[in-house]
């Protein structure tokens, strides 16, 4: 499996990543699934003016690598790319991209969602939301942990 993990402050270009993955695919891959996370302008009923994302260079990439390895053990995948942004992000900014290719669509869907659910709970990032009432550091929610533990 080709795997690519990047943590960057710059925005990513889904088109470019998609085209690069497609160029790597042989005739074996029948399915590509992409997930992009986008910063919302609210959390529950609270307005959110933006986010600050922090990571631990080296350890963060390794934590994502472990998630990809688990996914690759569990499903037949041909390619996986994870790009996660850090730094200051505003509403509507892209924050994360997970791109997976597989021979069969069931594997591609499951692996992409598995990777995303584990990024929320197991990847080494810290997220602070800028709300009108002040900044709040966010932990993985109970719902996030339930989703992860469901796998």
């Amino acid at each position: 499996m080709h795997a690519d993990i990047r943590v960057e402050t710059d925005d990513f270009d889904v088109a470019e990543e998609w085209a690069a993955m497609r160029a790597r695919l042989g005739g074996r891959a029948g399915a590509v699934v992409a997930f992009a996370g986008i910063v919302r302008d609210h959390a529950g009923t609270d307005k959110v003016d933006g986010l600050f994302l922090e990571h631990y260079p080296g350890m963060t990439e390794a934590s994502i690598g472990k998630i990809l390895a688990k996914a690759s053990d569990r499903w037949e995948l041909t390619d996986a790319v994870v790009i996660h942004r850090v730094g200051e992000l505003g509403p509507r900014d892209q924050i994360v991209l997970v791109l997976v290719a597989a021979p069969h669509r069931g594997d591609a869907f499951a692996a992409c969602e598995f990777i995303m659910d584990h990024l929320k709970t197991d990847a080494v990032f810290w997220k602070k939301e800028h709300r009108p009432g002040g900044d709040i550091w966010i932990g993985a929610t109970g719902g996030d942990r339930e989703r992860r533990n469901g796998w």
């Binding site: 922090e54 631990y56 996660h84 924050i95 995303m116 990032f125 993985a140």
Partner: protein
């Protein structure tokens, strides 16, 4: 665990802990070359609220980017990190 010579390790704080402690990275000269020695040294340096945050629920300690449990020995140049609960995406 204690040694007569002192050991310098880098200590890093992330996320809410970085803010609580008011510092990103500090090089500590510790007498007792282990995690307990780091905590003892931090107790003499930090304000009470910063120190308390480091013992908060869900805080994990890493040595050289690997999460450890309990006390472990340290060598000069080791990197110790205090991580609050993570959330990505």
């Amino acid at each position: 665990m204690s040694s007569a010579t002192s050991t310098v390790v880098a200590v890093r704080f992330f996320g809410s802990l970085r803010e609580a402690v008011g510092c990103d990275t500090v090089d500590l000269d510790i007498e007792d070359a282990c995690i307990a020695g780091v905590r003892a040294r931090l107790a003499s340096l930090l304000r009470a609220d910063g120190l308390q945050a480091l013992s908060g629920q869900g805080v994990r300690v890493c040595v050289n980017q690997t999460i450890i449990r309990g006390n472990v020995e340290l060598r000069a140049g080791d990197e110790v990190a205090f991580l609050p609960p993570v959330t990505g995406g």
